[in-house]
């Protein structure tokens, strides 16, 4: 499978319909790379005309802004908007809710206006349009799953249904955690916490959430954010429950169930 960059597409006179914004985790983190590859595979199989920025992509500035470093954020936003506008990007899809939030909500005022969607929304669209065909897959059918709402998808942007709708297409038994949707508990990574040690307390936030996920006795935990994925995987591993409960991104599950 060939993944084209914007530069390559433009050079060959093509205009992709959507830009896949990979994000730093998706680009560099080994676990998150699997999500990126799964999503790229889906796009490829569904015949979506897409491109990535490749080496021209840079951090959106989210962790810097949330940590309080507005200068760093503005520098990154300036550079990214120059590149995105330079390619006349209209539509962006991303597998990271943090990139999604910042591109959708915080770039417009700086001159970056794009239609931005999260990959779970895009997957829902592709399924509804029949571009993704789910085959009967024993891998998922009848298995139990719990979905962890990412704060930046859920409360921040009120996207609760799209990921659940996508999971429904897999014919699994969806078990909600006690704290879900608008009451969903954070994984502990947001607000640049991912990049520092937690403040002192009685428990790690990811352990609190992992325990809640384990309590549902589900075979899988579905995430829609590379950071939530890391936090929950670590928490579940810490409880030595990884044999019973696997954390997967929704894109990884769809990629495996696709024709």
């Amino acid at each position: 499978m060939k993944v084209n960059t914007m530069a390559e597409m433009i050079a060959s006179g093509q205009t992709p319909e959507v830009l896949f914004w990979v994000g730093c985790a998706g680009s560099f983190d080994q676990r998150a790379q699997k999500i990126t590859k799964a999503f790229a595979t889906i796009l490829d199989k569904a015949g979506v005309n897409y491109a990535i920025l490749g080496k021209e992509e840079a951090c959106t500035g989210d962790p810097a802004r949330r940590a309080g470093n507005e200068f760093m954020f503005q520098m990154m936003a300036y550079q990214n908007i120059q590149i995105l506008n330079g390619y006349s990007i209209k539509k962006i899809v991303t597998t990271c809710p943090h990139c999604f939030n910042i591109l959708k909500n915080e770039y417009p005022i700086l001159g970056g206006n794009y239609e931005v969607i999260h990959h779970t929304q895009f997957l829902q669209e592709l399924i509804e349009q029949g571009k993704i065909k789910i085959i009967d897959s024993n891998e998922w059918k009848g298995k139990s799953i719990t979905y962890h709402d990412s704060c930046y998808l859920g409360r921040a942007n009120e996207i609760y249904e799209a990921p659940r709708k996508v999971l429904e297409s897999l014919d699994m038994e969806l078990r909600e955690m006690k704290r879900c949707k608008s009451k969903g508990l954070c994984c502990g990574a947001g607000g640049a916490q991912m990049f520092k040690e937690e403040e002192k307390g009685d428990k790690r936030v990811n352990m609190e959430r992992a325990d809640e996920a384990i309590e549902t006795k589900s075979d899988f935990v579905a995430s829609a954010c590379p950071f939530c994925n890391t936090m929950l995987s670590d928490g579940i591993k810490n409880r030595k429950e990884e044999v019973n409960t696997e954390v997967l991104d929704i894109a990884e599950m769809i990629a495996k169930a696709m024709l």
């Binding site: 499978m1 993944v3 998706g26 680009s27 560099f28 983190d29 790379q33 990126t36 590859k37 790229a40 990535i52 490749g54 080496k55 992509e57 840079a58 951090c59 500035g61 962790p63 810097a64 802004r65 949330r66 940590a67 309080g68 470093n69 507005e70 200068f71 760093m72 503005q74 990154m76 300036y78 939030n101 909500n105 915080e106 700086l110 704060c151 930046y152 409360r155 921040a156 942007n157 608008s182 009451k183 508990l185 954070c186 502990g188 990574a189 947001g190 607000g191 916490q193 991912m194 990049f195 520092k196 040690e197 403040e199 002192k200 307390g201 009685d202 428990k203 790690r204 936030v205 609190e208």
Partner: protein
């Protein structure tokens, strides 16, 4: 004699209203100390929020039982206060139940009875709700009411309000019961208790209850500006001015945006432009007026803190405490201004003296506190403004964050990876 009572009543009422409005104006002035003003676009959507959240108490209904009890208090409070109109008229004119006389005259005496009976039924429900709330706070000891956030005065504040409501409702019922010519639905059941008392004493009881009731209301009114109970007024403007943007959106800092723009494109820089004075918020005057109104609107219910992932896992951060600290500091700044006309620096700031770095560092920006607040308060917005000041004014960040910043700057990612490897995954795809 009657004229003295009338004059006394008028003086009392005028004093109560004067003090109350004076304190409200001070609060208004304090709120307007804020740097940025209020956003007032999309008025229809804003009024909708007022109707749904303040008037309709939509978010309260996430906890239905408490919501119903709270609704009783709220409706009771508003409707029973209609009776104040008659009390005021009687007080000023020296009459007794002037509305009853009026309704009798136009042949609608039963309507008057219907109204007062409704008030009495509500009063009984209010009494009950207050007792349940007192029990929840003091006997059942709900976790969010036991927190250290409320140690001392705030915990008493909550109890004072409930006890005051109970006393006011009792006085209202006693006043009606002691009125021998009246026979209202709830208070009439109290009348057998008063059957041995002669009519002269009954009259005195009625008068005393009437006076204590109105004095109680004036005290309660003047207590509001000092209390967490101020939300009964500020919930309305606070939901009106609540941001209409998605919760995930942080507000932009045009001054920093421009600094970066001028660094990148110096030709755009205006000549002689002064650098901005400071970034983020170190003290209350650096916050927005909406942040400050949030602080006065907070009724310290603790729903935010109960939902906060940092607080749940034992971190120092409590969003409720952020709001209480902001109000405390603002009150202090307000007193400073009362005294000196202008704010004289007192070597204290909201950051550090009221809210510690450790609290700010614990926030995951998950928006759970914002989502929970029934009256659209955002503790998160204050936390973010303080973080901005910490990092941009004091260069105060943990070492890991400084590494993250320099990685973003040099490697375009928060981790130290070679930018050239950003698309390395495509080779294995």
């Amino acid at each position: 004699m009657a004229i003295i009572a009338q004059i006394l009543f008028i003086i009392l009422t005028a004093t109560a209203l004067y003090l109350f409005s004076k304190n409200l104006l001070i609060i208004r002035r304090n709120i307007l100390i804020g740097k940025a003003g209020f956003v007032n676009d999309q008025k229809t959507r804003r009024w909708k929020n007022v109707f749904l959240l303040a008037l309709g108490q939509k978010k309260m209904f996430k906890k239905p039982v408490v919501a119903i009890l709270h609704l009783i208090l709220y409706i009771g409070f508003i409707i029973i206060n209609i009776e104040l109109l008659e009390i005021m008229a009687d007080g000023i004119l020296g009459t007794h139940r002037i509305f009853e006389t009026y309704f009798d005259k136009i042949g609608a005496g039963s309507f008057y009875y219907f109204i007062i009976n409704s008030f009495e039924i509500l009063a009984a429900f209010v009494l009950l709700a207050c007792i349940v709330f007192l029990v929840r706070r003091n006997i059942l000891k709900l976790k969010r009411f036991m927190s250290n956030d409320l140690a001392g005065w705030p915990r008493s504040d909550a109890n004072y309000i409930l006890i005051a409501e109970i006393i006011l409702m009792c006085l209202f019922l006693v006043m009606n019961a002691a009125d021998t010519q009246a026979n209202f639905i709830i208070s009439s059941s109290l009348q057998p208790l008063l059957s041995d008392i002669n009519s002269n004493t009954l009259l005195k009881i009625e008068h005393t209850a009437w006076w204590l009731h109105i004095i109680g209301i004036y005290i309660f009114m003047n207590y509001l500006p000092y209390s967490k109970h101020l939300h009964i007024i500020l919930a309305f403007p606070n939901t009106y001015y609540a941001p209409l943007t998605p919760k995930g959106m942080m507000h932009n800092m045009p001054e920093v945006q421009n600094e970066v723009l001028y660094a990148m494109q110096p030709e755009l820089a205006p000549s002689g432009a002064a650098a901005p004075a400071s970034f983020g918020a170190k003290d209350v005057m650096d916050l927005s007026s909406k942040n400050l109104m949030d602080a006065y609107s907070c009724t310290e219910c603790g729903r935010c803190t109960a939902a906060c992932p940092a607080n749940i896992t034992g971190k120092l951060l409590s969003p409720r405490k952020i709001m209480m600290a902001t109000r405390d500091r603002l009150e202090e700044v307000g007193k400073n201004i009362n005294k000196h006309k202008n704010f004289i620096p007192d070597n204290k700031t909201l950051l550090h003296d009221y809210i510690s770095v450790e609290e700010l560092r614990a926030c995951t920006t998950c928006n759970a506190c914002v989502e929970e607040c029934p009256v659209s308060i955002s503790p998160l917005d204050i936390i973010m403004e303080l973080r901005r000041s910490l990092v941009m004014e004091e260069s105060n960040a943990p070492q890991e964050w400084n590494s993250m910043f320099s990685n973003i700057e040099n490697n375009f990612a928060p981790w130290k990876f070679a930018p050239d490897d950003r698309d390395a995954w495509t080779n294995q795809a």
